[in-house]
């Protein structure tokens, strides 16, 4: 297995489902879906998004940064869906490392912003 194969094997998963969400094919490289009959059992996002893609004129939807929690670990993936004749292709891009870094930075920024604003508010009240 060369470096590209290793990279894509761990980062990318292709799943094909019918319009009702029944799994036709999957490569299991990120998530093990062998025992899952319908993709809706795997994640609730598919409860509405499969109907949505069938109504979407472009026949394609991209959802960035979806948190997927399978009870053992949390992963952050970008999701791409494309409607084909008789089936839908679903691509998972595993970007957990990148989004976890973003999570840490955002956490620090938000907390300091809340503290900063509460100082402004209390100053405002004391001036009144």
């Amino acid at each position: 297995m060369d470096i590209n194969e290793i990279f894509y094997h761990q980062k990318l998963q292709l799943v094909t489902v019918d319009y009702q969400g029944n799994i036709i094919n999957t490569d299991n490289s990120i998530f093990h879906l062998d025992d899952t009959k319908n993709i809706k059992e795997f994640h609730p996002i598919f409860e509405t998004i499969l109907t949505q893609i069938c109504e979407e004129s472009s026949g394609a939807i991209a959802i960035p940064c979806l948190r997927i929690d399978n009870g053992i670990e949390k992963k952050y993936c970008d999701l791409r869906l494309k409607k084909e004749t008789g089936y839908i292709t679903i691509l998972f891009f595993n970007l957990t490392t990148r989004y976890k870094e973003e999570h840490t930075n955002l956490s620090i920024n938000n907390k300091s912003s809340i503290v900063e604003n509460s100082k402004t508010n209390s100053n405002h009240i004391s001036l009144l």
């Binding site: 609730p44 996002i45 949505q52 939807i61 991209a62 959802i63 940064c65 952050y76 938000n110 604003n117």
Partner: protein, 194 residues
């Protein structure tokens, strides 16, 4: 009765089978509406995730865990004896809805706009945000939650919120559970009427 009368009126077994399958398909769809996609909007730190946790898992934690991207949860509820599924999108907080990723909002059946009653910056632009939703999603119902209502009395005066645009709000507390279920149920009723 109507079903039986029509069924008996069909002579061939083949056409009877088609009639039965079409009847079931129509009525099952009527009994089980499509899952409703609900997106929770509002500034960061207003308690969007906590409200969902309270509503879906009946739990609460004081820890602030920032949401990155989107976290989706599902909840089955019963409205007027009819079962319905809500698919709730907990998206990262933004001071303006226009800053949210557009793909998160597409295909929504309902919005919850959440602000924090103890942080004025989270409701200062409420009217503008509601106007944005009216303009871009005119058919999608919106319910407003003024969250952290457990702080009324100690830090915040409830009387301040007794004027528009707050009169339509549900004053909720993810901490105590106050009004959380009621707010989600009202939005679900609105979405099912669409």
């Amino acid at each position: 009765m109507v079903f039986e009368k029509k069924y008996r009126g069909i002579s061939s077994n083949f056409h009877r089978e088609i009639y039965v399958s079409l009847y079931l398909e129509t009525n099952i769809t009527r009994l089980m509406p499509h899952p409703q996609k609900i997106v929770i909007l509002g500034h960061f730190g207003v308690g969007k995730t906590s409200l969902i946790r309270r509503f879906v898992d009946a739990s609460f934690s004081e820890d602030y865990l920032v949401t990155v991207g989107v976290h989706v949860k599902k909840k089955d509820i019963i409205i007027n004896d009819n079962p319905t599924t809500l698919v709730i999108w907990d998206i990262e907080g933004n001071s303006e809805i226009s800053m949210s990723r557009s793909s998160y909002l597409l295909g929504s059946n309902g919005f919850v706009y959440v602000f924090d009653v103890s942080r004025p910056e989270t409701y200062a632009n409420l009217e503008a945000q509601l106007e944005y939703l009216k303009e871009h999603f005119p058919k999608v119902p919106v319910t407003i939650f003024g969250n952290k209502a457990d702080k009324f009395g100690e830090e915040v005066s409830k009387a301040f919120f007794e004027v528009p645009p707050f009169t339509e709000c549900f004053f909720t507390s993810a901490k105590t559970g106050e009004n959380v279920e009621e707010g989600f149920k009202e939005l679900t009723i609105k979405t099912l009427k669409q």
